[in-house]
Symmetry: C2
Subunit: 386 residues, 2 copies
C-alpha cells in the first residue's frame, strides 16, 4: 500500500490564455503568464492511495464520488504511467483519488487548474516520475500547467502538433517580488455563464479578432510582461495586465453569440481603479478578470490599506468581518478621508454588491504534505470524512 | 426675407462608424452602412430665416438658444457658402436657425446626425446649392452624411487628406426592401457614459484591435452587407449586422480605460435574440447597439408580432400603452403561447427595464416642408413658441 498527499496553488493570469488550437490535447493559441498564489490561503489538496487490494479505481472530488472515466483524468493518468518504470510493482495496482479545494468553488476562481496540477504532481510522486510534468497537467486543464510551478510562470504555447513543447516554465520564484499582493473582489452574481472551456471554444470559432490578438498582440505583450516582472516594474506590469484583461473580454464580446463575463459591478470596480490611478498620477493598482464577474486586483503591499479603504467606501457591506475578509491578515481598514471622497467624487453603492474579499500573495508551487493527519483517504482507499 | 423649413431622418447603422482618422475634418477609419428611418416617426426639423434686417446670427436648439460660434456649425456654414453664387444678395445677410427633434434626446438615439443633415440640407436650399452636400453634413457630425439620403446608405471613408471624397451614397431607396422594420428598445439607464465622439477618440488612441477591425474586418463586411441589401438576403444581413455591432463594442471594451456602452438589459435582449433565432432555426431578428444601452432590432414586418410578444413577456412594463408603444401602428400584441415559454425556458424580468419601444421603418431622406404652419421661426427671426 502506498499513500501520498499533496497541495497545489491556484494561479491568476496577467496575460490571458483564451483559445485552443487543439481541443483534445488542450494546446493554446498564445503564450500566457500567471502568478501562482499562496497555498496558505487557497489550494487544492489531493490524496492518492494505491494498493494491490483495491478492487477498482475510485475518484472523489469535493466529497462527491465522480466517474473515473473522464477523458481528462484518464489522459493525465495514461501520460504519467507512460513515463514510469514498468518494473514498479504498484504501477499496475488500482488507485483511489480524493481531491478537495480549501476555497468555495462558488468563488468563481479556476479550481480545475489547481486540482489537475495537484493530481498530476501527486501521481508523479507516487510513480517516481522526474522532470517535466507541466505538459501532462495541461492535458487535465490547460492552465493547470502553470500551477505546477510557484512564483511567476509562463506557459509556452509550443509548436508541436502533439504538444510535447506546450509547457510551463518558471520566470522567477515568488520571493523575487515579495511585495506583490492580490485582492480578489468576489462579486455577487446570479447569471449563468458559459464555462471558460465553452467560452473560449465559441470565441475561437466565431470571433474575427481573436486570431489577431493571439498572433499579433499577445506575443508583444508576453515579452514586455516578462521584462516587467524581471525588473519589478509595476507601471509596465499594471498597464499590460489591465490591457490584456480588456483584450480577452473584448474578444469574448466579439464572439457570436457575444459573451459578457463581466457584470456592472466588475465594470464599476474597473472604473474605480482607473479613477484611483489617475488620482495617484501613476498606476498603483491593476485589475484583471477571468471568465466570470470577480475582479482581481494586483497591487503592492504598501497600497493595500489605501485602496481597500476606498473599495469599502464605494462597496459597503453588512457581512461579519471574519466572513468578509479572507486570507492573509489585512492592515486595519480605516474610514476614508473626506478629502479623497470629494476629490474623486466617490459615492457609496447599495450594500451587498461584493460577496467577500480574499487577500493573498504570490506563493510556492505544489508540495507533498508529510503529516499523516493531512491524508484525505484511509488505508482502504475510502475517504476519511463521510 | 427668406424662410425655409426642412426635416431630415435619423439613421441606424448596420456596419458601424467607430474611429476617426482626422478629428477636425471628421474623417472615419472605415466605411459604414445605415438605413435612414421614417421621418413620420422620428426626425429633426430646422427652420432658417435670413433677412437684411437681422442684426446678428442666432441659433436655437430644442428651445434653448445656443452659441453661434460652435466650430461644427461654422464649418458647415462656411463650406455651404463657399459653394454658393457670390452674387446672391441674401448670401451676405445674417441668419436665424431654429432646430428641433420630434423625439426625446433622452432616447439615446443619435440626434446630431439628423440635426446636422437637416441644417446642411436647409442651408443648401436657402443658397440654391446643387449636388453633393453629404461631405458638408459630415463636418457637422460624421454620421449626418448618411442622413442626407433616404433608404440604405453607405458612407465611403474616402482617401483624400482633406476629405472631399468622404461622402455618402445611396445604395438603394427605402422602397427596395419595403418589409424591413425596426424596433428600438429604449433601455432605462442611469449611468453616465462617454459620448460617441469621446468614446471613439479613446478607442482610436488606445485599442490594439481597432485598426485591424477598420482595415481588415469592416472592408469585407461592407461589401457583403451591400450585397445582402441588394439581394434582400435577411440571413446574411442579420448575421453581418449583429457581428458588426459586437465588433464595435469589443473594440470599446479593448480601449483603455475600457468602455462598456451596453448594460445588463442590453445583454439580456441580445441573449433573447440569439435564443429566438435558434428556436426559429434561422436568423429572423437582428440586434444592433450604438453608443448607449438602447438595443435596436431589425426584422421583417411578418416577424414583428411574434417577436414583440416575446419581448413583452420577458420585459414586462406597467406603463400606459400609448406612452409605451411609439411610432407606427403595431399589430395587436397577444399573450405568449405557453408552449413557447416552455420551449425557450423564458422567464419574466422585473418590471420597468425598458422605458418604451419605438416601432419604425426605413424611410426617405430630407425634404422641404412647404406649409408655412410648419415654420419654427417668425419673420423677425425669433422662435414662434416661447
Amino acid at each position: 500500500m502506498k499513500m501520498i498527499t499533496c497541495i497545489a496553488p491556484i494561479n491568476m493570469a496577467v496575460i490571458k490564455y483564451w483559445g485552443k488550437r487543439d481541443e483534445e490535447l488542450i494546446l493554446p493559441i498564445n503564450d500566457s503568464i500567471s502568478a501562482s498564489l499562496s497555498t496558505d490561503v487557497m489550494c487544492a489538496k489531493t490524496t492518492i492511495v494505491t494498493s494491490a487490494l483495491l478492487k477498482e479505481n475510485k475518484f472523489w472530488l469535493n466529497g462527491q464520488e465522480q466517474s473515473f472515466d473522464s477523458p481528462r483524468l484518464t489522459n493525465c493518468l495514461r501520460a504519467i504511467k507512460k513515463r514510469a518504470d514498468e518494473k514498479l510493482p504498484h504501477l499496475h495496482w488500482n488507485i483511489s483519488i480524493c481531491s478537495e479545494n480549501n476555497f468555495p468553488t462558488a468563488a468563481g476562481l479556476a479550481s480545475s487548474a489547481a486540482g489537475y496540477a495537484c493530481l498530476v504532481y501527486a501521481l508523479a510522486q507516487l510513480y517516481n516520475i522526474e522532470g517535466e510534468i507541466s505538459n501532462i497537467a495541461r492535458q487535465g486543464s490547460g492552465s493547470a500547467c502553470r500551477s505546477i510551478y510557484g512564483g511567476w510562470v509562463r506557459w509556452h504555447k509550443g509548436n508541436s502538433p502533439v504538444g510535447e513543447d506546450s509547457l510551463a516554465k518558471q520566470i522567477v520564484p515568488a520571493d523575487h517580488w515579495p511585495e506583490m499582493r492580490l485582492l480578489v473582489l468576489v462579486v455577487n452574481d446570479t447569471k449563468k455563464k458559459y464555462s471558460s472551456a465553452k467560452g473560449m471554444a465559441i470565441t475561437t470559432l466565431t470571433s474575427s479578432l481573436i486570431k489577431y490578438r493571439a498572433n499579433e498582440i499577445v506575443p508583444r505583450r508576453i515579452e514586455a510582461m516578462e521584462q516587467a516582472i524581471l525588473n519589478k516594474n509595476f507601471q509596465s506590469f499594471a498597464e499590460l495586465t489591465m490591457k490584456d484583461s480588456n483584450s480577452m473580454h473584448a474578444c469574448c464580446l466579439d464572439s457570436f453569440p457575444p459573451i459578457a463575463y463581466m457584470n456592472e459591478v466588475s465594470h464599476s470596480i474597473i472604473q474605480l481603479v482607473h479613477l484611483y490611478n489617475d488620482y495617484k498620477k501613476e498606476l498603483t493598482v491593476a485589475y484583471t478578470v477571468d471568465a466570470g464577474p470577480n475582479t482581481c486586483i494586483y497591487l503592492l503591499e504598501s497600497e493595500v490599506e489605501d485602496f481597500l479603504s476606498i473599495v469599502n467606501f464605494v462597496f459597503p457591506n453588512n457581512v461579519d468581518d471574519n466572513e468578509y475578509y479572507r486570507g492573509l491578515k489585512l492592515p486595519s481598514i480605516r474610514p476614508l478621508d473626506e478629502s479623497i471622497v470629494k476629490d474623486l467624487n466617490l459615492s457609496a453603492n447599495k450594500e451587498g454588491l461584493l460577496k467577500y474579499i480574499i487577500y493573498t500573495k504570490v506563493g510556492e508551487g505544489p508540495r507533498v504534505l508529510d503529516d499523516s493527519k493531512e491524508h484525505l483517504l484511509q488505508d482502504d482507499g475510502l475517504p476519511k470524512h463521510f
